[in-house]
């Protein structure tokens, strides 16, 4: 009988549920996570605005990790082009582009399909470069071990307050293009950190430049810790 409107219509049944609407994505993400764990690959979901320096960060990270004998692969989400994939392949990184068409984010199923396009199992780290967007990507679990958000120094100190869902989801925020700071006298790193502390409970901000390698050591050390966790987990 209808319980909600009290109409007494016996043909109406009310079913009470507690189901995540994105449960199909959750199970695809779980599947990806099992693949990553089985292969012992650290999967990073790299998010950020268009132009925040995500691709440059992957290139610089590949160079730095390469000198330690660590190898990476990358999947790039892009609405229309393969430009990021081309850039990454030119840098010697096995990379494929997942073209999303009109979709503003990657989901776990798209990532799973993208994994068939590259040799990633023998790598140490897989970067999933999400579609440039500070809103939608935060909602979808891809099966990653950690979320990294790139935020360029030119984007404005209040960005974390404007996009709290994205920054709450971050395990670390990279303040990119730090080489520009000397040209931006009104921008204070502390203001980014203060804004972040209001939306991210264990806020972690690393100031970094892919151009002059400032902050690269701290970033590599953060990645090393995640690699150690990931390897302990896949044993």
């Amino acid at each position: 009988m209808c319980q909600t409107c009290g109409c007494g219509d016996e043909r109406v049944v009310t079913v009470n549920l507690h189901e995540r609407i994105l449960k199909a994505n959750d199970s695809a993400a779980r599947h990806n996570r099992e693949h990553f764990a089985a292969a012992g690959v650290l999967a990073i979901n790299l998010m950020g605005s268009p132009g925040s320096g995500k691709t440059a960060l992957i290139e610089a990270t590949a160079r730095a990790l390469g000198s330690q004998g660590l190898k990476i692969a990358a999947l790039s989400g892009d609405l229309a082009t393969d430009h990021d994939g081309e850039r990454l392949r030119a840098a010697g990184i096995p990379a494929a582009t997942v073209t999303t068409g009109t979709a503003c984010h990657l989901d776990a199923d798209l990532v799973h399909r993208g994994l068939h396009e590259i040799a990633w199992q023998d790598r140490d780290v897989l970067f999933v470069e999400n579609v440039g967007n500070l809103v939608c990507p935060a909602v979808y679990d891809l099966g990653q071990r950690a979320n990294v958000v790139a935020l360029a120094v030119t984007e404005g100190e209040d960005k974390p307050l404007k996009y709290p869902v994205m920054f709450r989801s971050a395990d670390v925020v990279l303040l990119t293009k730090a080489d520009l700071l000397p040209h931006l006298p009104d921008i204070r790193v502390q203001s980014f950190a203060d804004a972040l502390a209001k939306v991210m409970p264990q806020s972690r901000l690393l100031v970094i430049s892919a151009r002059n390698n400032q902050g690269m050591a701290e970033w590599l050390s953060w990645l090393d810790d995640r690699l150690a966790e990931s390897r302990a987990n896949s044993r």
Binding site: C2, T4, C5, D9, R11, V12, V13, T14, V15, N16, L17, H18, E19, R20, I21, L22, K23, A24, N25, A103, C104, H105, D107, V135, C136, A138, V139, Y140, P164, V165, M166, R168, A197, K198, V199, M200, P201, Q202, S203
Partner: protein, 113 residues
Amino acid sequence: MHEYSVVGALIEQVEAQARAHGAIAVRRVCVRIGELSGVDRELLATAYEVFRERTVCAQAALSIEPVSARWECRQCGRELSRQGMLRCVACGSPASLAQGDEILLTQIEMEVD
């Protein structure tokens, strides 16, 4: 605008429930959407209007229950101010979100034979 893909997933779930219960029509779908879920309630309602045509939800009203964000201290459980730093004022531990990230299907009213 990921609300379209959220609505797509919602309608698939409603279709599965309607099939399982042998429903001939769905009258109402109730969802719970948290303030920090990343889903915009107005956009969700708009996307639902667009997508429900010619689906099991064609005649079904959508009720959206909002859930406000609530932060608590992970250690001592104290509720924390929404505007401040996400650290406990008493013990300094990081906060955790007690509610406000829900994207849930909670109820379906359906018509059976």
